[in-house]
Amino acid sequence: MTKKGIKQLAGKVGGIKNLILIPLATLWLLTLLLDIFFVERIFSPLGYLYLALGIVVLLYVVWPLYTSRRLVQYYWQRVKRNRLAVLGLGFILFLILLAIFGPLFTPDPTAANFEGKNMPPVGFSSEESIYNAGTGQFITKATSGSWEHPLGTDNKGRDLLAMIVSGAGVSLQVGLLATGIAVALGTLIGVVSAYLGGKVDNILMRFTDIMMTFPFFLLLVFIIFIFGPSLAFIVLVIGLTGWTGVARLIRSETLSLRTREFILAAKALGASDGRIILAHLVPNVVSLIVVIATLSIPGVILAEAALSFIGLGDPAVTSWGMILRAGQQSLDITWWVAVVPGVMLFLTVLAFNFVGDGLRDAFDPRSSV
């Protein structure tokens, strides 16, 4: 097939990106169906979310950013000026590395060892006196932290560091995936609604209103309780309920773009709506999307943590919220089990807030929060 042919085809489906997206998406869907109806587990449910997110991000975030390298560099210069943002970025990178490579160096976070339970972190020492019902005596055993368990152990003798590491993975997964879903959905709805306007806009926005009037957390707890907690499901639910805000923001942004010269020009040249939306509008809100995404990740992470905290987390994985829940039951004996995950949660959210803030300032210095 000639270059020209490809170009024409691309023009038909609205941009070379779609030319790639469409087959990929179909492939993805086919594997999913295959998985559901015929064979077991080609990918895990989370795996599918990852793939979907990966494709979309690659085509509509990475690609545009790559094609306009100079702009990105310019922005990066500006972001760099914001020390806190850089700090946050550093922490997030650290967290990602921790989540990916940490498990290689830490013991199995579910390996219990009752001999070595309630061990304090390195540099601390705790004195625990156990009442022996048999003898009626107190056995006081003083333990002090060892490098074997840098962050100590919980009341099952599980290595807290290992749990934190796996928790980091969970939080990031939830944060990124759920936000990805929410933002993708929100962007699509926002852009389409703004661009097509009229009836479509009306319907979509009413729908958004309905979604917005649902008490978010109640709905979340409700669904999770009824259909049982599994990480993939939690991610999905958060993603599918969290897009409303994004949709609104993107919509208002697009409305202002809609009447810009280059869009009108594209129209005048008879480009299809699909093409205009995907090839002209979306790339122009990418910066906004990135900002929104970064700023909505904290909320998602906290939502998951809150769920686990009230006992609706996925029992199969060790999440920070879950450690926290366990920890606050025995604050007086093993304070570290509650404090460490709390601090991690706090730092993570803080980091994302810093970065998001930095990005926003960089992209649009005089925008409001």
């Binding site: 009752f114 019902a133 309780f225 004996i333």
Partner: protein
């Protein structure tokens, strides 16, 4: 800064104003009680007893509708049963004038109640009320009394209710057609509903459910040590001293001006409240006991309970087929040390269990019961050998499930995993939410049929998800262990693990029949049953738990024991 302070002041004022304006709409759920002057009690009555719990709230004070234990215990503060027991199972007469009398043939139960029992309107509580409660409420179709089966018997293949019969104002009889010796315990627990009120709602379940008298316990007269005052859902249940309490005539009991059940979100907060002296009593988690034992202002009593933990073996077709072999089950039990579990998980607060009959039960027998899981029957070599003889020389992989969030069970899971690995059995742990556990692992149905899933759908049925081992905890009634047939008899409604043994079924049947009328004979039956069960190992009984009750030191009159609360109307503040 002055400005800020000033503004804060404004906020407070604003808040008050708005709050007061709300007062107009806001109606707290306090029930106005007729003010009656309390006669000066013999012993100085006073103080508020606050009992903290992190368990869930009750569902209703209209206890006859309730299936949850909290509801029954709430109502229990205001109405006494016929007879209760002290820590040694000695009878304690309450509303009964003398203990329930059983005829020679064990079919007729005669109840004589006190003649000084009054409803709130001053009218006498009569045998008529009891008979009415049974016949027109508990036995009725419209009310759907959850525990009607307590009063039913199998006659010629069909289920019929027992027949109450009023003899005179204070006497009534209950006649069975079949002998069931332990029926007496059910009778002793009987609590009446006021006929004069109940008739108003008879036949209309909705009206009955919503009847204010029942939901606010306004009828209880002098039947209980306390009178209902307030119930703030999910927060507290408040009862106040009943000056007319029939047991308090001379003693002046009860001695607390108020008794409050305070609900906490987590046991941790309840503990904190006890430590801070904000509440009078709460149960203490095993791992916190030492801490509270050290506080000189707290008394911690360690008391036996009827709860026991066990490791269920899935004997259904979707479990490891090896488990169907007795020797294999024994092998597993041989490898799991009960002392270790008690020490590591229960912090020493437990008794090794070898059958479902606890030490505190009058029917408990030790001799002849195979004590798996403690030396000498704690022996990995022997376990391996048994497995080998059973033809399992290769290592196997089993799944152990239990409900997530229950620390004790999870920990036992970890320990079992560790112990079994020693005899070449690899255990994969699976912690799932309670609801999931019930739906996917306990409930079962025969594949291919459209019968609705139950906890026991017969031998052929299997659960939705396969499993091999399950850590579970239930409790037994020390007085009538025969009730445990719901687990261990082939047709038992909670026999989710699919155990079936004709001998066991037979023994259960006997224990519930005329053959058990003589207590000696019954004891022998139970002894046989426990021996058989301990040999059979349908499940691996792990431990009976000991509970720890933490009280503020100034509470007097407590008798620690299995029925610690039996004399709580005599407790007082020093």
């Amino acid at each position: 800064m002055k400005r800020v302070l000033y503004i804060l002041l404004l906020v407070v004022i604003y808040w008050y104003v708005s709050a007061f304006s709300l007062l107009l709409f806001h109606s707290p759920s306090v029930v106005s009680q007729p003010k009656q002057e309390a006669p000066p009690p013999a012993k100085e009555a006073g103080g508020v007893f606050i009992s903290g719990t992190s368990a869930g709230d009750a569902e209703t004070l209209n206890w006859i509708l309730a299936a949850d234990s909290a509801s029954l215990s709430y109502a229990g503060h205001t109405v006494d049963p016929l007879v209760t027991y002290d820590n040694e199972w000695r009878l304690q007469l309450r509303t009964a004038a003398r203990d329930v009398e059983v005829s020679e043939d064990g079919l007729v139960y005669t109840v004589t109640i006190r003649d000084d029992l009054r409803w709130s309107d001053g009218s006498k509580v009569t045998a008529e009320d009891y008979a009415y409660t049974l016949e027109s409420l508990m036995f009725s179709d419209w009310l759907n009394y959850p525990y009607k089966s307590d009063w039913q018997e199998e006659v010629g293949g069909e289920t019929v209710f027992v027949t109450p019969q009023v003899v005179d104002e204070t006497t009534f009889t209950i006649t069975r057609q079949t002998v069931y010796p332990e029926f007496i315990y059910t009778v002793r627990n009987l609590v009446p509903y006021p006929k004069y009120i109940a008739v108003k709602y008879e036949g209309d379940v909705e009206a009955f459910t919503q009847a204010p008298e029942f939901n606010n316990l306004t009828y209880t007269g002098n039947l209980g040590p306390y009178k209902f005052k307030e119930w703030l859902r999910n927060d507290k249940f408040v009862v106040e001293r009943n000056p007319d309490y029939y047991l308090g005539k001379d003693s002046g009991a009860p001695y607390f001006a108020q008794y409050i059940v305070k609900l906490f979100g987590t046991s941790a907060t309840a503990h904190a409240a006890l430590e801070a002296g904000d509440i009078t009593y709460t149960g203490i988690d095993p791992d916190k006991v030492s801490k509270f034992k050290k506080m000189e202002w707290i008394n911690v009593y360690t008391v036996p309970t009827t709860g026991y933990l066990f490791l269920a073996y899935n004997l259904r077709d979707n479990g490891w087929e090896g488990l169907k072999i007795k020797e294999v089950r024994q092998a597993l039990s041989l490898a799991v040390s009960k002392e270790l579990i008690i020490e590591q998980v229960l912090y020493g607060f437990g008794e090794p269990a070898f059958s479902f009959i606890p030490k505190v039960s009058p029917w408990y027998v030790a001799e002849g019961v195979a004590q798996y899981g403690v030396k000498p029957l704690l022996d990995e070599e022997k376990a391996k050998e048994l497995l080998l003889n059973a033809g399992y020389d290769k290592p196997v992989k089993l799944t152990l499930v239990t409900n997530a969030g229950n620390d004790e069970r999870e920990n036992i899971g970890y320990l079992v995993k560790e112990r079994l690995s020693a005899i070449g059995i690899e255990v994969e742990l699976k912690f799932v939410p309670w609801a999931t556990l019930l739906r996917k692992y306990l409930m079962n149905k025969t594949l291919g049929t459209d019968e609705e899933a139950r906890y026991n759908n017969g031998v052929g049925a299997v659960s939705e998800e396969p499993w091999d081992l399950m850590v579970m905890g239930f409790s037994t009634n020390p007085l009538s262990p025969s009730g445990q047939d719901v687990f261990y008899s082939t047709t038992g409604g909670l026999n989710f693990f699919g155990y079936s043994n004709t001998q066991v079924d037979e023994l259960f049947r006997k224990a519930k029949s005329a053959e058990a009328l003589d207590e000696g004979a019954r004891k022998e039956l139970y002894a046989e049953l426990s021996r058989l069960i301990s040999e059979e190992q349908p499940v691996d009984f792990l431990a009976f738990q000991l509970a720890n009750a933490g009280f503020q030191k100034n509470v007097r009159g407590i008798e620690p024991g299995i029925n610690m609360g039996y004399n709580y109307h005599l407790w007082y503040f020093e």
